[in-house]
């Protein structure tokens, strides 16, 4: 390999970028091992002087963290299923059929995603209270599912467009219905996109804060982001070490999921772009 100035500069730039990205994560991580006093030290310590594991255990007991976890998982899975179930047919229709105002339909769907959540949270609150769904992860799953449909439609549509329609046509001429052609030909071929978009929706729902904070009331009904935020203020003040420990527990499943499917994802994220 030839080494020249540009290559060295690129490598250095990437190292700096990596450090820039990793430092907050690293600092959060070690903060979870510090005592409350050490957190306030100036200059801050980059390696804990007094290393303690206790907060990694305490957070499971001083609050219903297990319930937070359960709620987050339920809400995220429901939202992913709902978003996919509704966006797949829409994406397929918009990719394969030419109908009047197709681009308007697509744009309108996209604008729903731009809607500030704060604008609809109150009506939704009233609505869910009437349905007695307040304070349940199911209601959060429904709402997350709905707000993520636009992402599903747009990403999946771009994947479906990439699959030549001849494949489905040929399959139909072979003697199958359009539904079978979709299930047996198109669906397996857009699997990378399906995996990528599922994970994006899962991650967005996992970390959602606004709806979760307003639509849940009881301690056991909250999700991880809301539950973790409860360590701020209150009788004990800001408990940064607990916040950080809980945060790490919260993001680990998502990180594992991204690592597990990163092959799909790398292809998935570039698939629609490079023609």
């Amino acid at each position: 390999m030839k080494i020249n100035g540009w290559k060295i500069a690129t490598v250095i730039a990437f190292i700096l970028l990596t450090i820039w990205t990793l430092i907050p994560i690293y600092y959060s991580f070690i903060t979870a091992f510090k005592s409350r006093i050490e957190i306030t030290y100036w200059p801050p310590t980059l390696i804990p002087k007094e290393f303690t594991m206790q907060y990694w255990f305490i957070i499971w007991f001083d609050r219903p963290t297990i319930a937070y976890y359960r709620n987050t998982v339920i809400a995220s899975l429901i939202s992913t299923l709902i978003a996919l179930a509704f966006s797949m047919p829409t994406a397929y229709t918009c990719a394969r059929f030419n109908f009047k105002n197709r681009s308007d339909v697509l744009f309108t769907i996209l604008t729903f995603r731009f809607l500030p959540p704060a604008a609809v949270v109150l009506p939704i609150y009233v609505f869910l209270r009437q349905l007695a769904l307040i304070d349940t992860p199911i209601s959060l799953g429904l709402i997350y599912g709905a707000i993520n449909i636009p992402i599903g439609v747009w990403v999946l549509r771009s994947y479906i467009i990439e699959i030549p329609p001849e494949l489905e046509e040929s399959y139909m001429i072979d003697g199958y219905s359009r539904l079978r052609a979709f299930l047996n030909i198109t669906l397996p071929l857009i699997r990378p996109g399906l995996v990528a978009v599922s994970l994006i929706i899962l991650a967005l729902s996992w970390g959602e804060f606004l709806f979760a904070s307003i639509l849940t009331t009881s301690p056991a009904g909250k999700t991880l982001p809301v539950g973790i935020s409860e360590y701020m203020g209150g009788e004990w003040g800001y408990e940064w070490n607990k916040i950080m420990a809980a945060t790490f527990y919260a993001i680990i499943p998502i990180i594992i999921a991204f690592i597990a499917i990163r092959k799909h994802l790398a292809r998935g994220l570039t698939f629609g772009i490079v023609r």
Partner: protein
């Protein structure tokens, strides 16, 4: 196998008329070619027959059964796409098995049929591979196998040779001829290539800008195109077109071009009028004259600009008094530099077209 009848089919995409009032028949067991330049509407027509596109007007009949509104799966037709349309996530075996599985045949029978067909097309060593591991020619044979295994009522081919390089094309053409003979199948074959039409088909339909211009036996249509566009489409290399003035004096009919005057038979006085025409002459009806022969008429001087040899034949480009002409010589003719030659134009082979209507007026 079955007889196909297309009746007054029209199709528009937006404001663009893709097919206009197309009617024709494909005889049972015949090899019929749809010849037309790109975007003539060939693919759309095949897609309408296969059922993946619906005509705006007109009906499609297979053996007098109206199939216009039937979904593709109930038509039992086979279509080989120009892009082959092999399912990338299925092995060759499963690709070929697809139409058989659709019919819910028992696995033993499917296996037997696939073995037969892969033997016939010489692809049995590929059955375990994925389409992306195949070369162009192999893909094409797999696509044909998938169509053939089906025992369809009619086989539709959409430029199956276009995506192959010329050597494979030659081999595949032979293969197709062999296959059509063996199957005694009804075949409708779309192609922009006049050679395909001449080599393969029993009958040819010329499609041009969504209209059916002429139908008939390939040789007949080739030699006597009714219309200038037919002559253009059905000529390899491209036919030479020359502006010509027709003059009549003392019962003699003379066709004047910038470089040669040709006497036409006297009966033309009654069939033609004086005026401007388009003279068309195929490249292989122009010959280079090497020996002085006074008895030979219709010889003119031209400058030989360049030649290139294709196999054992030569394509020569000449210029005669400002008009560029292409010659197709059935021998190898090597020349180093630009030089003057004498060219003989075969008056028995000229075609005259009306300059306005584009219709053939002579012979």
């Amino acid at each position: 196998m079955a007889k196909l009848r297309v009746e007054k089919v029209s199709k528009k995409f937006g404001p663009k008329k893709v097919l206009e009032d197309i009617s024709f028949e494909v005889e049972e067991g015949s090899f019929t070619t749809l010849l037309g330049p790109p975007s003539a509407g060939k693919t759309t027509l095949l897609r309408i027959i296969a059922g993946v596109e619906h005509p705006d007007k007109g009906r499609i009949f297979l053996d007098d059964e109206d199939i216009t509104d039937l979904p593709p799966k109930d038509r039992n037709v086979a279509l080989v796409y120009q892009t082959f349309a092999l399912y990338p996530h299925m092995k060759v075996y499963d690709n070929i098995a697809s139409p058989l599985k659709a019919r819910k045949l028992p696995p033993d029978e499917i296996r037997k049929k696939i073995e037969e067909i892969s033997e016939f097309l010489n692809i049995h060593h590929l059955l375990d591979r994925y389409p992306r591991e195949l070369s162009g020619g192999e893909k094409q044979r797999v696509a044909i196998a998938r169509a053939m295994v089906k025992e369809a009522r009619i086989y539709l081919f959409d430029e199956p040779l276009t995506n192959l390089d010329y050597k494979l094309r030659e081999a595949a053409r032979t293969e197709l001829k062999r296959m059509s003979k063996a199957l005694k199948a009804t075949i409708l074959y779309a192609t922009p290539d006049p050679i395909d039409a001449l080599a393969l088909s029993d009958k040819v339909h010329i499609l041009f800008e969504g209209k059916l211009l002429q139908s008939g036996a390939p040789r007949e249509v080739h030699d006597l195109p009714n219309n200038l566009n037919v002559a253009r489409v059905f000529s390899y290399p491209t036919i030479n077109l020359i502006d010509a003035d027709l003059e009549m004096k003392n019962g003699k009919v003379t066709l004047k071009t910038p470089f040669v005057s040709i006497d036409l038979p006297t009966y033309c006085t009654s069939t033609l009028a004086e005026g401007r025409y388009l003279l068309a002459i195929r490249p292989h009806d122009l010959h280079i004259v090497f020996e002085e022969d006074r008895s030979l008429t219709n010889v003119f001087k031209a400058r030989l600009l360049l030649t290139y040899i294709i196999g054992s034949e030569t394509i020569a480009h000449v210029e005669a008094n400002g008009v560029r002409l292409t010659l197709h010589l059935p021998y190898i003719y090597r020349v180093g530099e630009v030089r003057d030659v004498k060219v003989f134009i075969d008056a028995n082979r000229i075609l005259l077209f009306d300059a306005n209507t584009m219709e053939r007026v002579y012979p």
